[in-house]
Symmetry: C2
Subunit: 230 residues, 2 copies
């Protein structure tokens, strides 16, 4: 006898990701470097990528905690999960050049396309809808998700801060892929990965950083997001 | 002797808004009704508006706590602050018809332009950029702000819930107007009004409701937002 419906899967039952190697493209920038540091500190194997292998090696040495550096292509090839933390204006070029190396990989886009003028930050809408959807268009053989948009690079980098109490909104089309990213976020003390929709709903998540910048300016803060009632 | 710079204003020093009358256009809908209930419970004078005065009277009686009902035009005229909680598809028509009555008023747009299909919710981008910017375009003599986008109508309506622990992101061009709205949000126990940018950054705040809907579906929650480090 079978029951009418399969039991609903516990959304907090996430996979063990401790054995995965995480690459961070743009790992010499503030955001990438901060994420690499936190993931390595949590025991994850991390390789940061840069256009120049030399710069990646230098940054990796500075970060410590076993982080390695490599040219972007090698970083992508050697990693199971590849975080994209490059500046928006190099996003399409960088990913387009790594299509082969990123085939089959779980890609986590955390790029926020923003413009700046005298009035502050404002969102840029990519033709594909969002940075994450641009990544998905450029990397048809990869499994593309989006996450880690709202983290303060200042807090990530501060060794005096042990816990970063924040929720990481994870977006993607395939539940198992999102769950890997959620589990990765959960490796960092204080952080929680929360599924927050499909890639077509990535633009507003990316753009919300413009609002966080306004908050930071008004309140002298390093604002992040938490979801209530979850 | 004068100091080189004026002392920076404390961003949490907000005005006393207890004497203001708050109108809620669309006050017979779930969101408007919930907000009217919470503001009235907090001691605010509240008038809900509807196209038909009769329906507004009925809903006001059901809400209780001194809430009054009126046709939209009278609601707008008699209020100091007017919350716009109408459905998106009636937004332009309703506001366009009330330009005279809303002249000089502080308008608080809380409309989320969303579409729905088999894959869930997705954002609709108004020609003006956002619902709030559409309101500003239609109401050139009003002071337009945007806020109260991420509140769960279910939690607002539940009389068993005393506190709603959430942050209300308040957007607008004029600091004093935003501060009135922030103070209004702060009248509701657990809520805090936080300045979160100019109206050109409203679209992503409105659209984020699509993500909250995904969160609610996955986790069986009534998700809201809190800002960390603020």
């Amino acid at each position: 006898m079978t029951s009418a419906a399969a039991p609903k899967k516990d959304p907090w039952d996430l996979p063990d990701v401790s054995g995965l190697t995480v690459g961070v493209l743009g790992g010499t920038g503030d955001q990438g470097r901060g994420l690499a540091y936190r993931l390595a500190l949590a025991g994850q194997r991390v390789i940061i990528g840069s256009r120049a292998a030399e710069r990646a090696h230098e940054a990796a040495t500075e970060i410590g905690h076993g982080v390695e550096g490599a040219a972007n292509a090698e970083c992508a090839e050697r990693s199971d999960v590849v975080v994209v933390a490059v500046p928006w204006d190099g996003h399409a070029r960088t990913l387009g050049a790594l299509r082969a190396e990123l085939a089959g990989k779980l890609v986590v886009d955390c790029v926020n396309p923003l413009g700046f003028d005298k009035k502050g930050a404002y969102p840029i809408k990519p033709e594909e809808g969002s940075a994450a959807e641009q990544a998905a268009a450029l990397l048809p053989e990869s499994r593309v998700t989006a996450a880690f948009h709202h983290l303060s690079a200042v807090l990530l980098a501060d060794p005096a801060i042990d816990e970063i109490e924040t929720d990481v909104m994870v977006l993607g089309e395939v539940r198992a892929d999102c769950e890997v990213v959620q589990a990765l976020a959960g490796r960092i003390p204080g952080m929680r990965g929360v599924f927050a929709g499909r890639l077509r709903n990535a633009h507003q998540v990316e753009s919300l950083v413009a609002n966080l910048i306004s908050v930071n300016r008004r309140y002298g803060a390093h604002a992040g997001i938490q979801l209530t009632d979850v």
